[in-house]
Symmetry: C2
Subunit: 182 residues, 2 copies
């Protein structure tokens, strides 16, 4: 390990939160994963709530060696309104995976996609997540995405961006577009 | 061309703006490029102002066939405060490339990285960009990134997200991190 590399490893990893009503949260997390992959580091993406594989990110990422991606439920769309039983089970599994990955320490960046909403809907216990994060190794960065980020997470975060909706194509009746929205 | 594919091509492409002081604008644009690439479409990224290649995105993207990336200046960092002569020349070249790519019509998504700032600092003329965009073929989506998005661009946009800074690691004295910030 070169001196420069060891210096980077010793830096404490960040806690990053992308939240808000605007578009670009998961998109930014994917961009960050790609940027990290460009430096030959390892990334894990755990998708909470989401269960669809017909997305551009899923298709691309499964061909990139440095990125591991996990889904724990089968679902065509995210839930609208109230979560269902399957989301509860899926989130339990997702937390188990997170715990395992943190213990293994092999990823430089862990992306917890839509976990903010999972916490908001009581599918995931925020205290449990914070406890797991405390065990992460130096240099491990963790990214939280989704609307309604918990105050407890914002408090421990180093970087928080609120994606604020100024204009949204759905407002004009334009539907979600393949390759843009998914 | 299948019927489904031809339907997608006929949809008008979006104009997307990621602006604001918060982190995640270029990151979201890279994520969008990756998502688009996952659907086997073609993307062009033109970097206005930026001239550095020692970034994760540059390293990764040059190995992805569907994404073409262009830089028009040599520079280690973005300018701070006032732009220099080289930024002026670089932006002129970037606009020429944009015009050529729009005419060729071969990209599904064009990302104009940091163009908002280039317009803000009078390095690029907003009226000229709008004129070029009018010639884009159906289905071509164009993404504008950078702080200080022009009102004229926001008006013609379909999707505008302001990345609002809630917390920023630089405020705590944490420096830019390889694989996270670049």
């Amino acid at each position: 390990m070169t001196r420069e590399k060891s210096k980077i490893r010793r830096q404490k990893g960040l806690i990053i939160v992308y939240t808000g009503e605007g578009k670009g949260k998961t998109t930014a997390a994917i961009g960050l994963a790609m940027r990290t992959a460009g430096w030959e580091k390892k990334i894990a993406i755990i998708q909470f709530i989401k269960g669809f594989k017909e997305t551009g990110e899923w298709k691309l990422i499964k061909n990139i060696d440095q990125i591991d991606i996990y889904q724990t439920i089968e679902s065509e769309t995210a839930f609208i309104g109230k979560p269902e039983k399957k989301h509860e089970g899926g989130c339990k599994k997702a937390v188990l995976i997170l715990r395992e990955l943190i213990t293994s320490g092999k990823h430089d960046v862990l992306i917890l996609d839509e976990i903010n909403n999972a916490i908001f809907y009581d599918l995931v216990e925020v205290g449990e997540i914070i406890k797991i994060l405390k065990k992460r190794s130096a240099g491990q960065t963790v990214v939280f995405t989704g609307r309604n980020a918990a105050q407890e997470i914002i408090e421990i975060a180093d970087l928080v961006t609120e994606m604020k909706k100024i204009k949204h194509p759905y407002d004009k009746g334009i539907q979600a577009k393949r390759g843009i929205d998914y």
